[in-house]
């Protein structure tokens, strides 16, 4: 039995995959909040918070593409405007959707 793939770990991975709709909904809410073209510093922080969590956890569960996509957006988060963020978040959502 592989150490990293014990049944408990497999069960956790299943649980994580099952949480994708919840994570998608959170991203959708964050995207909707900035869809009118304006982003406040608080909203920027909220988007970053969601991406930060997702970047860490998705990578830990083996979804490296999702993790990398989060990091790509995070790298620009301090300066990016909504014309960058909205489509990038949409791309990320589609990526998660594909893995759901």
């Amino acid at each position: 039995m592989s150490l990293s793939e014990s049944p408990q770990v497999k069960a956790l991975k299943e649980r994580y995959k099952a949480s994708f709709p919840e994570k998608l909904e959170l991203l959708r809410q964050r995207r909707e909040a900035i869809a009118d073209g304006h982003i406040s510093s608080q909203q920027r922080m909220q988007v970053n918070e969601v991406l930060h969590k997702l970047a860490g956890s998705s990578g830990m569960y083996g979804y490296h593409e999702i993790s990398a996509s989060c990091r790509e957006i995070m790298a620009e988060i301090d300066v990016a405007d909504t014309s960058f963020l909205v489509p990038k978040i949409t791309e990320l959502m589609l990526l998660i959707e594909r893995h759901s």
Partner: protein, 522 residues
């Protein structure tokens, strides 16, 4: 003469206004006349006396008798034109007019037709979605009705479940109270009898406690709050505890109760004992409750780091129809006359899944029921076997703290480290981590930076101020270099970027273990 001129002027104006151009050819298809504006359509090389099909593409193959309308063709200059061939006795008139407007209108019409088609498609899709939503609503409605029925049955069952032990507690405490009063008159019951009454109170209280635990766990089922925390346990002790809890119940019913263990010489494994015990009590409790004659037996086998459990009873059995429903929350067989919450099996099944197994139930009506499952039970890493991980010290002896607010990451870390024989104590924020480090000695700390209440950086500052030199390894999803530099300046032992490889953590722990005396740990 004046009349002819006037007619020519009118014709010229009309031709001009309608942007009409013409080519007149004789019966041999030789050009005999052309209008001046032909060049505006890109026909520049037409000359009198030339053969018309040599100068005009669309005239190829026609004779002077052809009467034809070509509504939409493209002229050499790219303009959409309409062409009419009008034959007379001795000649053929080729009329060319600008058809751009008609082409545009036709395109618009086509566009509208496409849009209409799209609208119809969308409408059909919406109708389909509406139909699906309606079906889902109907299904949900049925589920709600069933849930409502089950809740009602649950309330009546749970009231009975609570009333029975409570009545017993009140009854026995009354007896003890009376005997205490009587002992003042030197007529009380003997101490053995009093102890028996108190044991009955304890049994009922434990039963109540397990009921409450099941109820609380049910609330956590949907929110995934039930967490498995493996630790080193002796299986023999665990089964002794289970026997002590269940035997009195089977004795009162005169039902034989056996526990058969085939777990080898060493039975110390890494498992969440409280969760396993909860499952065994639920399964055995059910078996004893529904068995009025015969026996209830539990067989446990430990093979290849897997623990197999089988519980068999000689109770009334479960029908095939009911077997499909027993895992539903609140469900209880209607005609057994045995009250309950209907939650035990639902919770047990979920916990067994979290422990890495699958609950199997088989039954023959009138003969009895068999419940079984198999879960991983890794043997505890001893000093010798820990060498397999190239560990200079048994890492399982290390006291390790994990500070991580993300439950997905924390649960995975706990589980993966447990697979490597390392038990983590998990806290959810920096403040709790600091509190834990103040009240306990940890050999090693794994800590996130981005946490509520107190960040990882703030914890490092506090540890520096308190001269606490516990090795802290930071795990962060942020690749911002400033975060790493700040943590290193604050004295972190190492800085790992998420996703963290647990083997990297083990390697760092080995480094720490080489420099720390942890052999004294239990």
């Amino acid at each position: 003469m004046v009349e002819v001129n006037l007619q020519q002027q009118i014709n010229a104006q009309l031709f001009d206004k309608l942007q009409l151009a013409y080519i007149c050819v004789d019966s041999s298809m030789i050009v005999v006349d052309i209008s001046d504006n032909l060049s505006s359509y890109g026909y520049n090389d037409i000359s009198i006396g030339a053969k018309v099909e040599d100068c005009v593409d669309f005239m190829f193959g026609f004779d002077a008798q052809t009467q034809l309308d070509l509504p939409m063709i493209e002229s050499p200059s790219g303009i959409t034109i309409a062409v009419s061939l009008l034959p007379s006795d001795s000649s053929l008139m080729v009329l060319i007019s600008n058809a751009s407007n008609q082409a545009e209108q036709r395109q618009l019409l086509q566009q509208k037709a496409n849009e209409n088609e799209l609208l119809v498609e969308r409408q059909e899709k919406l109708l389909h979605q509406l139909e699906q939503a309606s079906q889902q609503l109907e299904f949900k409605n049925q589920q709600l009705e069933e849930a409502s029925r089950l809740q009602t049955s649950f309330l009546s069952g749970v009231s009975h479940e609570f009333r029975t032990p409570l009545t017993s507690i009140i009854g026995y405490t009354n007896l003890v109270e009376q005997s205490l009063k009587s002992s003042a008159d030197k007529k009380g019951c003997d101490p053995e009898q009093k102890a028996g009454h108190l044991r009955a109170v304890q049994r009922s209280s434990r039963h109540l406690l397990s009921l409450v635990e099941n109820l609380l766990d049910h609330g956590k089922l949907d929110s995934d709050e039930i967490v498995v925390r493996p630790k080193e346990i002796d299986l023999v002790e665990l089964f002794q505890d289970v026997e002590l809890l269940l035997k009195p119940l089977s004795d009162t019913k005169h039902v034989e109760f056996n526990i058969n263990l085939d777990i080898g010489d060493s039975a110390v494994v890494l498992i969440d004992d409280s969760r396993l015990k909860q499952c065994l009590i639920n399964i055995l409790g059910n078996a004893v409750k529904f068995t009025d004659h015969g026996s209830v037996s539990l067989t446990a086998e430990l093979l290849d780091e897997f623990l197999s459990i089988r519980v068999e009873d000689t109770g009334p059995g479960i029908s095939a129809d009911d077997l499909e429903k027993i895992r539903l929350p609140f469900w209880q067989a209607a005609d057994t006359g045995k009250a309950g919450t209907g939650l035990g099996l639902t919770i047990t099944e979920r916990i067994i899944e979290l422990l890495g197994g699958k609950l199997e139930v088989s039954s023959v009506l009138g003969e009895g029921t068999q419940v079984s499952f198999q879960i991983p039970a890794p043997m505890v890493v001893t000093h010798e076997s820990s060498k397999a991980f190239n560990s200079p010290q048994p890492l399982s002896n290390m006291a390790v703290l994990l500070a991580e607010d993300d439950h997905d990451i924390a649960d995975l870390m706990v589980m993966m480290m447990a697979d490597r024989g390392v038990h983590l104590t998990h806290v959810e924020n920096g403040a709790l981590a600091l509190e834990a480090m103040r009240s306990n000695t940890f050999d090693f700390v794994l800590m996130d930076i981005h946490m509520p209440i107190m960040t990882g950086h703030e914890v490092l500052v506090a540890l520096q101020q308190e001269n606490n030199s516990t090795p802290v390894v930071i795990m962060s999803a942020s690749t911002v270099e400033a975060g790493r530099v700040k943590a290193e300046n604050l004295g972190c032992y190492d800085y790992l970027i998420k996703p963290v490889d647990v083997d990297d953590v083990i390697e760092i722990m080995n480094q720490v273990a080489m420099n720390t005396d942890i052999s004294h740990r239990p």
